[in-house]
């Protein structure tokens, strides 16, 4: 295998396929997205299959995740939001969590390290905010861009700034997840790559290679934390943005 830290992000096309010049091949990225969605579904259905009054280990884990996200959505968007958006937010969270965790296996592919995937997820949230916000509040949704109590003279500038601020959300939303996962995996591969490089340099090198190996193990633990935390942060920010769709003008 290559020691190139970027090698892990290369996409292979299993089934080349094109629609009107758009590459829609089934690739490694597609495979691991399907695997992530499938694993999330499998986990939730299998863990909850016993429906036991006194839950087993798997059921506790599933109920814990469900309750955790449910209370987060409720805190951020209120009773109305949790009714409307909980399935959406929980699906996003489980998908990102499972995709991140699948990516932790050596030589496997991490879909969330591709910005096109995180951008698609962030744009989905953005579109939901726009559609629900305008559908529910109509013209009142535009209040989001007009803070109250601003003198009329500076209002055009403030509105312009608010609009730019609003449209910068999907970008920062997508980049945060992508950058964390991408940087973490590059770092892991760089440190892991030092081990065979040093070990090739003879006996002293073999002894010295313990240091980057230890670092890799420590970073692995950190990456597991990041994999969970970034899924949580993505879901949390989704809630904050969705809250704006329900209650514009509450900045």
């Amino acid at each position: 295998m290559s020691n190139d830290p970027m090698h892990q992000f290369q996409i292979e096309r299993f089934a080349p396929f094109e629609i009107n010049g758009i590459d829609a091949s089934f690739s490694t990225a597609s495979l691991f997205m399907v695997a992530g969605a499938g694993l999330a579904t499998l986990f939730m259905t299998q863990a909850m299959a016993p429906k036991a009054m006194v839950p087993g280990r798997m059921q506790v884990a599933a109920e814990g995740l469900y309750g955790f996200i449910h209370s987060m959505v409720k805190d951020a968007t209120g009773d109305e939001g949790v009714k409307k958006f909980f399935p959406f937010v929980f699906t996003l969270f489980m998908f990102i969590l499972m995709a991140n965790m699948l990516g932790m296996f050596p030589y496997w592919f991490t879909t969330t390290s591709q910005i096109v995937v995180t951008a698609a997820l962030a744009l989905m949230v953005f579109a939901t905010v726009l559609i629900v916000g305008i559908g529910k509040n109509g013209a009142k949704f535009l209040k989001l861009f007009v803070p109250s109590g601003v003198p009329i003279a500076v209002l055009p500038f403030v509105v312009l700034i608010e609009i730019i601020s609003f449209f910068s959300r999907p970008l920062s939303h997508a980049v945060r997840l992508w950058a964390n996962i991408f940087a973490g995996h590059v770092l892991l591969k760089v440190f892991a790559g030092f081990v065979p490089m040093m070990a090739a340099a003879g006996f002293v090198g073999v002894l010295g290679s313990i240091l980057p190996l230890g670092m890799t193990v420590a970073l692995y633990a950190l990456e597991f934390l990041v994999a969970f935390l970034q899924a949580y942060v993505f879901a949390l920010l989704t809630c904050i943005y969705l809250n704006d769709a329900l209650h514009p003008g509450h900045h």
């Binding site: 500038f157 970008l171 920062s172 945060r176």
Partner: protein, 118 residues
């Protein structure tokens, strides 16, 4: 909290020691389970950077788009970039505000924090 008042008649020594222990554990629990977006200063810094940078990029991109369609070079880019910077600052202030309201400063904290190992 009502139950943090000492019981009438004065508490014996061991009870107050226990109470202190309970209070400490409760505070630690509350700290651990407080609604928190970020865990470390580094991730907060990453968030500030991301919010600022994305607003600048979006502002400049929007300005460039206006130039491209309306042939107003270079004013769209200039104004868009400036507005993007302003929007970035607004974003950063918003994140800082939400972080501060999620992690309020402890009013009983010592006035001089130990920053020796920072």
């Amino acid at each position: 909290m009502a139950d943090s008042d000492p019981p009438p008649g004065g508490a014996p020594q061991d009870t107050s020691a226990l109470r202190a222990k309970v209070e400490h554990a409760r505070a630690a629990h509350a700290r651990k389970h407080a609604p928190q977006e970020q865990t470390s200063a580094a991730s907060l810094a990453m968030r500030f950077g991301g919010e600022f940078g994305s607003a600048v990029l979006v502002g400049a991109g929007a300005g460039f788009g206006v130039d491209y369609w309306l042939h107003t070079n270079p004013w769209g880019l200039v104004i868009g970039l400036a507005a993007g910077f302003a929007a970035g600052v607004v974003n950063v202030v918003r994140v800082a505000k939400s972080y501060q309201s999620a992690n309020p400063v402890d009013p009983n904290a010592p006035s001089v924090p130990d920053d020796a190992e920072d």
